[in-house]
Symmetry: C2
Subunit: 359 residues, 2 copies
């Protein structure tokens, strides 16, 4: 828009100083381009580029001249230009439904660390489960703003599968369907949920409630099935009134769900919540209706966010290897980018039951 004048002007300035010898000392920043550095160093732009990119075939003396000029001018490569030329943005998109959820935060850290190790930056997008936003993020890929994407948002994934996005360079993390033809990393949700329920069973509970998210999501269905089958295997017929499906993982959602669940005859004596945030809310909700945990009601969560160990009582939960989940997702994506043809495998990471005070 209003850019041409200033930039042009400064370019002119540097062009207007063919003064040999002493560097004109025009401080750092702005106007300086690779051409200016070349001029100051008395070499061609090609040579400057070679030095900047660490190519071997440059005479040490030449290299030093260039480096000196770069130093003196405070030049920084314009990655906008570099990106166009090399046709890559070196940006990885990460889509999460909610940055505020500690579970996602830790995964995001894992992604970020691997990405940075490989010279990529991470563009974090909070979809807020908003379909409009969700769709537009995949477009970032098509518009070359990002080289690849990692999606953690179940809703987005459901939607992506329905569209033509399978050709795009992305991987699924935590929420996935092995049949979907997109690389993924996650855990065995079915077994994990079963492990949680079996723990409760072993503690003598027979009436076990399930506070789940929307069964539109794969992971929710998998965990529900794990819950159901574990109950059946113990000879218990699951009561439908013990189950609730929420469209949020917020603390508040868990709190009110717990209150609702307790407000019925034959209320459960234990609750399995599919997320620690939900479970923490559940404990709060239970307390608000006068129930003590674990004495009156046992609670098991899912994820093992760092907070789980801090609350009262400390939360018994299924630990997911969050950091590794993120790191693996990033590696899978990088692999796919490096070799678009090779088919990248799906990977399942181990989970683990962590027994603390709540159940």
């Amino acid at each position: 828009m209003s850019r041409s004048s200033s930039r042009k002007a400064s370019a002119a300035v540097s062009a207007a100083r063919p003064r040999p010898g002493v560097a004109p000392l025009r401080g750092a920043a702005e106007g300086m381009s690779i051409a200016g550095v070349a001029e100051q160093a008395g070499v061609s732009v090609a040579t400057v580029s070679r030095v900047l990119n660490g190519h071997e075939n440059v005479r040490p003396a030449t290299r030093d001249k260039v480096l000196a000029a770069v130093d003196a001018s405070g030049y920084r490569v314009n990655e906008l230009a570099r990106n166009l030329r090399t046709a890559e943005s070196r940006l990885l998109l990460t889509m999460v439904p909610d940055v505020g959820n500690p579970f996602y935060a830790e995964i995001v850290r894992g992604i970020d660390s691997v990405a940075r190790q490989h010279g990529y930056f991470m563009l974090l997008c909070d979809t807020g489960a908003d379909p409009g936003r969700e769709r537009s993020y995949f477009d970032l890929l098509r518009r070359r703003r990002a080289d690849g994407a990692i999606c953690l948002d179940p809703a987005t994934i459901q939607q992506a599968l329905g569209e033509t996005s399978s050709a795009l360079p992305w991987v699924a993390c935590c929420e996935f369907d092995p049949a979907m033809g997109v690389p993924y990393v996650g855990i065995d949700n079915y077994r994990a949920a079963g492990d949680a329920v079996r723990h409760l069973l072993a503690r003598g509970h027979r009436r076990i409630g399930l506070i789940n998210s929307d069964v539109d999501y794969l992971y929710a269905r998998q965990r529900q099935q794990g819950y159901l089958d574990a109950l059946s295997a113990a000879g218990i017929t699951p009561d439908e009134r013990w189950r609730m499906n929420l469209n949020s993982l917020d603390y508040e959602a868990g709190a009110s769900a717990a209150a609702t669940l307790m407000n019925q005859p034959q209320a459960p004596s234990a609750i399995f919540a599919v997320s620690d945030t939900l479970a923490i809310g559940v404990i709060h909700g239970l307390r608000s209706v006068g129930k003590r945990v674990p004495d009156d009601i046992a609670v098991v969560g899912f994820d093992d966010i760092s907070l789980a160990a801090q609350i009262d009582p400390p939360l018994t939960t299924i630990a997911q290897p969050m950091r590794e989940l993120g790191e693996t997702a990033a590696r899978l994506l990088l692999q796919r980018l490096a070799n678009p043809l090779a088919n990248v495998p799906g990977v399942l990471l181990p989970h683990r039951l962590v027994i603390r005070g709540s159940a």
Copy 2:
């Protein structure tokens, strides 16, 4: 580093198709550029560009032709090229010390929402308080990868002030020095801390502990001064043993600090922690040494993250308008980008004491 080979191949492919005449019908995606669309629509690239950018001076019929061609080809603008041409990346960098901290997460949401409203995307960077990473992020600005930055990391800010970064387009959020010549948004930390202490005083406490972060940080010094002055004003001589400085805001840090604090004669009867995460850890730590909150020890936190209301006992805390903090920071930055010369003001947002069960 290893980025040359693959790219070369694809460039060659598209370059090898100067075939004139009938559009090769090469479906959607890949190779398609604005020139291809122009050809299919039978117009010039300039016209396509005009349509794409919503310029008015295009005949409806022409516009339709172009749109049809865009549709048929599945063309998406290459923003790499656009960015170079317009000399802006439309990316805003946000630097936080820790994405996992719910306090920052909420602010980040505020930034993201304003950014997106204005056609920018947010590049989130977790500095992890690592000086190396910190420094490299400001370089993103110099390399034109981001148009501007919002910094939430105290350590990074301290360092940025020492360097020549004041010329860069960035704003400070939460941590700031009015004298630093960089736009900022935050709260009145001095008064806020005073309010917390006065609340405790009003509840009859005389021995009030302070669990603070590193006094290298401006906000930490401001809150400490607020604490000290409030105590003095009440005729109390602050005991140095009541104060602790931590280099982390993690739950664990708060927990162990609390244990340490209690492990001395004349231990405080109340604790003011400068962050809710710390305060939650404190409550946990207190419990682990057999102290009950608030009966034995009162606890006041700072921030009012959503979790504060959920724990047992619910946390009394100083609420910061997190969402607004983020939104304001983004607006300040956008303002600065729109008009680099105008001097953007510093803004202070109101805080508020939220009284719950812990004190």
